[in-house]
């Protein structure tokens, strides 16, 4: 089964207090040098059948109407290639 990943992020101009809280906690935990953190959501959709243009159109539609609130969020849709090995180096 093919996997399609939808990433949803708050738009850059929308305040992300959760990301800020994470960023502020980092120095206390000894992690230095992280200037900013934005927190988002990742959806992994296991798609039945081929992931063709029509299927991707439907997924784009469901992301736009349901997974993301486009008033405050942006989203991306991508097909995840079947992994031969975990995290192959680029």
């Amino acid at each position: 089964m093919a996997r399609v990943v939808v990433d949803v992020m708050l738009k850059p101009e929308i305040l992300d207090p959760q990301g800020q809280a994470v960023q502020r906690a980092l120095p206390r935990l000894g992690f230095e040098g992280i200037a900013d953190v934005r927190q988002g959501k990742r959806f992994e959709l296991e798609v039945e059948g081929p992931v063709d243009a029509a299927a991707l159109r439907r997924i784009h539609e469901l992301a736009e109407t349901f997974l993301a609130n486009t008033v405050i969020e942006d989203f991306t849709v991508r097909v995840e290639e079947p992994a031969v090995s975990e995290e192959a180096p680029a």
Binding site: L10, I14, L15, P17, F66, L67, N69, V71, I72
Partner: protein, 253 residues
């Protein structure tokens, strides 16, 4: 639009028969995770109306003249607050009827549902300080011409409870400007006596917006809870009663 609104009203007995024979029927939707549906029904009864319980899976509005979407955590606030409730069967009918003029009031989670349903513009986001806030909140009535605010005066200040974690109202600057220009900001957070002005806004809402209305003025959403301020025994005030008496006055007029 005329005094009575919606398809439910046109099929009901007209004029004197309505006022003499029948209270205004206001439906209150219960979603899985709704909390304040009972208080909303109680507020309607105290205001002199007939509350009608509506179920999220039932498309039928049971001949109500108006609807309240109550506070709570519909569908566990999963995905986003109000995002799943928007697609419930009852909401399909409410969206249709609201577009035809039926008065709809969304309180807290109900406001979030109205924004997710695109009946109202903008969105509610996590409070800027990240804490759940629960306090009595002072509001200024900016628009007393909506279906739910005619019993207030413009500029009147009221105090009702506020309790939410995601009450920060956001919209793009153009939308905010349009809301201001069209008088669609219905309530703004304001400081009570003795409270510094910078503490008025409880959650980082843009332009101190606590509640807004649609262009027609029949759909109103706000984060604070008027239904918790209808009795002196349990509420900080009875300032919330005006929401329900406003709608009822319009329904039986």
């Amino acid at each position: 639009m005329t005094g009575t609104t919606g398809t439910a009203a046109t099929s009901a007995p007209t004029g004197p028969a309505r006022t003499a024979g029948r209270l205004g029927r206001i439906g209150v939707v219960t979603f899985p995770g709704s909390l304040d549906d009972r208080d909303a029904r109680r507020a309607i009864r105290i205001a002199g109306g007939e509350p009608v319980a509506l179920w999220h899976r039932d498309k039928d509005l049971h001949q109500v003249d108006a609807v309240v979407l109550p506070g709570g955590f519909s569908y566990g606030d999963y995905l986003r607050c109000g995002a799943i409730a928007r697609f419930s069967p009852v909401m399909q009918t409410i969206v249709e009827q609201a577009k035809q003029g039926m008065p709809v009031l969304g309180i807290c989670n109900g406001f979030q549902v109205l924004c997710e349903s695109h009946l109202l513009p903008g969105a509610l986001t996590r409070n800027d300080h990240l804490r759940f806030i629960c306090r009595d909140q002072r509001l200024r009535v900016e628009n007393n011409r909506t279906a739910w605010t005619t019993d207030y005066t413009e500029g009147q200040e009221i105090t009702v409870p506020l309790k939410n974690g995601e009450g920060g109202y956001v919209a793009d600057e153009r939308t905010l400007d349009a809301l201001e220009a069209e008088g669609r900001v219905v309530f703004r957070y304001t400081a009570g006596p003795g409270t510094p002005e910078e503490q008025a806004n409880p959650n980082g809402s843009r332009r101190d917006i606590a509640g807004i209305t649609n262009e027609a003025g029949n759909v109103v959403g706000l984060m604070p809870h008027p239904e918790h301020a209808v009795e002196s025994l349990t509420g900080p005030t009875t300032d919330g009663l005006g929401f329900f008496t406003s709608a009822l006055a319009r329904l039986v007029a």
